[in-house]
Amino acid sequence: MAASLRHAIVAAAEAVEAAREPLCALDAETGDGDHGVTMAIGARGVKRQLGAHPGDDPAGLVRAAATGMAGAGGAIGPIYGRGLLAVAGVLAERSTGATSDEGLTLELLRRCAAAAADAVSALGHAQAGDKTILDALLPVGAALAAAAAAGEPLAAGLQAARAAAEAGAAATAGMAAAVGRSARFGERSRGSPDPGASSFALIVGALVDDALAS
């Protein structure tokens, strides 16, 4: 399982690229209609950075992905950039010099999610309920924590993470945006899900699918 983090990241990037137009449509509801394009540019950047990154050490791969996403700019670029750097930090800490995905545990993933959420929250000053990517990311962390605490197998924990991301993203439809561009839509932003939370759920889904398939 999870033979290749590189493979999983590429799969997620491609899922993002394929969702370009629907993600733009979501952003058109409450933002400026560019989210799918910006994410697709980020995904291309990620693939380019991965291509230029020789090793297969998880921390290095995630750092490469961080660079790729940050290069897309917009609000979402630095959010992924910082979040992924925090994940890379957790991975690097775990095993300096690790070059494969050996040792992938729910506990490790929980720590990654928590670090990412802290970094994103610190950067963008958003809280749960503000209708952002955090509303999909925090539930993923919670699901992983619960699964880890319950001693569930990795696959079950991954499925729970995916379900949590999807439910979190779906729940943003009921929220009014409190930060970012959509905040100016206030109450008018209710009714359609947050684009950043939605694309994050898509990524989690693609990563989990790839992990489970291999």
Binding site: A28, D32, D34, V37, I41, G74, A75, G77, P78, R188
Partner: protein
């Protein structure tokens, strides 16, 4: 899908910038990827970096040149430039006396420019930041700092650029940019939508006889969706929102620079008719208009519509606004 004359949408920004620096090689150069710099970098002055997402041309690249900006950081369409691009712009603008970062107040721009400012500090380049927040439709008077920046960019950039050019120090340039921003109020009206290349659809829907007053330059919601009215009636409502905002600050009149900015698709004919109405309205409200700008300064791709900006002039702002500048898109 709106019709465009572009190639692969993913290449649009780079091809545009390539065309831009080639067409205006007498004024600008590509200082780094996505960074437009002056052809002849300035020496021993505060640097002025402007920037933001693309799709607002001539902002921001069109404002690089002697007397105005030193560099423009250009993002993807409607997406702030990444920290790397901002940092490269800061480097291109730096000649040892610090760099002012001046851009519209949007979450994405704040995040990216702030990260770049940190990186610049690590390289020993001091920066200051001024976020343009002139759009009265985007937040109430008591929350002015939260407002987004629209065509007031022109005034703030111009004042900052002139102050930097004459040799003011970083704190002084930043203070004058802030003074210009404090003295500027804007409001837009949109008649049709624009489309981010590659997104497959316009950014919003608007009926064939509708307009939206207060809409932002990326299609952010305004203060009133209504039916199309004669230009004088539309201008009156726009101006009244601006004047009400001034009154909330206790300002009942003054000397103004008036900018009527086209959002992209609106012809000069309509812009001058709007200008006429705006000027008459301002004068009727007790203002004098001593400087006028009519044209496309901060656009939203092919959006139809316009914005008004009123800069309340004092002696210093007037001098800085009048100071010579030579950029690709401003005389």
């Amino acid at each position: 899908m709106l019709k465009k004359l572009l190639n692969d949408p993913f290449d649009a920004v780079d091809e545009m910038l390539d065309g831009f620096v080639t067409a205006h090689a007498d004024v600008v150069r590509l200082a780094a990827p996505r960074v437009i710099g002056r052809r002849e970098p300035a020496h021993d002055k505060v640097g002025l970096v402007v920037g933001g997402g693309s799709g607002h041309e001539p902002a921001f690249a069109g404002y690089v040149g002697a007397g105005l900006a030193d560099a423009a950081a250009c993002g993807n369409v409607f997406a702030a430039p990444s920290p790397d691009v901002c940092l490269d712009a800061i480097r291109a603008a730096s000649s040892g006396r610090g760099v002012l970062l001046c851009y519209g107040n949007y979450a994405g721009d704040v995040l990216n420019f702030d990260l770049a400012a940190e990186l610049a500090a690590g390289e020993g380049i001091a920066t200051a930041t001024l976020r343009v927040s002139d759009d009265v439709a985007s937040a109430p008077p008591q929350d002015r700092a939260a407002r987004r920046g629209i065509a007031g960019d022109l005034f703030v950039f111009k004042v900052a650029g002139a102050a930097a050019e004459r040799g003011d120090d970083l704190a002084g340039v930043a203070a004058l940019a802030g003074r210009a921003n404090d003295a500027c109020r804007s409001l837009g009206v949109a008649l049709s939508a624009c489309e981010v290349p590659g997104s497959g659809r316009p950014t919003f829907e608007i009926g064939p006889d509708e307009l939206e007053i207060g809409m932002g330059v990326h299609g952010e919601p305004g203060i009133r969706r209504g039916t199309l009215e004669p230009a004088d009636a539309v201008a009156e409502q726009m101006l009244e929102a601006i004047l009400a905002d001034w009154r909330a600050d206790g300002v009942e009149g003054g000397e103004a620079a008036l900018l009527v900015n086209g959002l992209g698709a609106t012809p000069y004919m309509d812009l001058y008719v709007l200008y006429r109405a705006a000027r008459r309205g301002l004068e009727a409200a007790g203002w004098t208009v001593s400087r006028s700008f009519v044209g496309e300064y901060v656009t939203s791709l092919e959006m139809a519509g316009a914005s008004f900006s009123v800069l309340r002039l004092d002696d210093e702002l007037r001098v800085l606004l009048d100071a010579p500048a030579r950029t690709a898109r401003l005389p």
